[in-house]
């Protein structure tokens, strides 16, 4: 009995820390902690060629036209606008509810039409997308607070659906054109 106990000497665990450190350093070096974030969008499906769709009738007043040119300038509803004002402009347009006869009838009908040039900088484009998304998010948040007393992000699925129905995010991107300048 005594001999069998002596036959199993304890393994020296002193170097375990070294091995673990080695592995740790390897993972420390290879790790990338960044979480991928971004603006999610859905592209419209390609129009089928033989099936010529007739344009759905949309009143011009329900469309908020945003154009971006090669020099990253914005033309909103026919007027030059700074990007910083776009958020409020879009909010006013979406939440007009027929107050102004030349603006949208209600948020469900409001459509934002975005068109950019091939020479527009990507940064500007993303900023415009961001401002438009922010306009919708702010409106949704306001509606969520009014209706449920919580921010939109904290609502449950059915509540979110209701709010989304009140403010559907309709951002339409026109087929690309090359208006001015090369890409």
């Amino acid at each position: 009995m005594a001999s069998s106990r002596r036959g199993l000497p304890e393994i020296n665990a002193g170097s375990m820390a070294d091995i673990a450190f080695l592995l740790l350093i390897f993972f420390l070096v290879t790790t990338t902690m960044d979480v991928d974030t971004g603006i999610a969008r859905k592209l419209p499906p390609m129009p089928e060629e033989e099936l010529q769709e007739e344009d759905p009738q949309i009143h011009a007043k329900n469309i908020y036209v945003v154009l971006i040119n090669t020099n990253n300038q914005l033309l909103v509803e026919g007027e030059l606008m700074d990007i910083s004002q776009l958020r409020n402009g879009a909010k006013e347009f979406i939440d007009n509810n027929g107050r102004d006869a030349n603006s949208s009838e209600n948020p469900e009908k409001a459509i934002i039409s975005l068109q950019n040039d091939r020479g527009t900088e990507y940064m500007t484009y993303i900023r415009v997308q961001n401002e438009l998304a922010a306009a919708y998010n702010e409106l949704r948040n306001k509606a969520a607070l009014n209706k449920f007393g919580e921010r939109y992000d904290n609502l449950n699925k059915t509540q979110k659906k209701k709010i989304r129905k009140m403010y559907p995010q309709k951002i339409s991107e026109a087929e690309p054109k090359n208006i001015g300048g090369d890409s």
């Binding site: 820390a17 993972f27 961001n130």
Partner: protein, 155 residues
């Protein structure tokens, strides 16, 4: 005096390092779990634009990446500095995107295909022309869920 000297010598017992492996293992497991191995080497410089209304991307395994930017310094001699597209580990032309999406789809389960997202990681200085071309190709390939990769930040 004698008393103090005696105390000095005896007052520094060796700190037990027996629990050191445990601590290190804990850290090790943390990093092993959180680590994401870099799969592709970037040949293009990409600094994504800033945005505030961002969402975290879910299901990383269902995301395919398209990198757009000007080639990195060491590649500029042979490829120039004009913005290019990178798919997987090589430069690509716009026309190759449909093929790329098809191979990405083949690698996934059929049920997961509708949830696949294409992440466009483009440099902020890139012109929209190339991005529009990419988007058109994605529409042709019927990969309609896209994500403009951005950094968190205000203007």
């Amino acid at each position: 005096m004698n008393k103090f000297r005696k105390g000095d010598k005896k007052g520094m017992p060796a700190i037990s390092t027996a629990s050191l492996p445990d601590i290190v293992f804990m850290l090790l497991f943390f990093f092993m779990v959180t680590t994401v191995m870099r799969e592709t080497t970037l040949f293009v410089d990409v600094l994504t634009p800033k945005a505030t209304e961002i969402k975290k991307m879910e299901k990383k395994s269902l995301v395919s990446y398209i990198y757009i930017g000007s080639p990195v310094k060491r590649m500029q001699a042979s490829y120039g500095s004009a913005a290019r597209i990178q798919l997987n580990d090589a430069f690509a032309e716009v026309s190759e995107i449909q093929e790329f999406i098809a191979t990405e789809r083949e690698a996934r389960d059929e049920k997961e295909i509708p949830y696949m997202t294409t992440s466009i990681k483009a440099d902020e200085t890139v012109r929209m022309g190339i991005i529009t071309d990419v988007k058109q190709e994605l529409r042709k390939a019927n990969a309609l869920k896209i994500n403009y990769s951005t950094r968190k930040g205000d203007y």
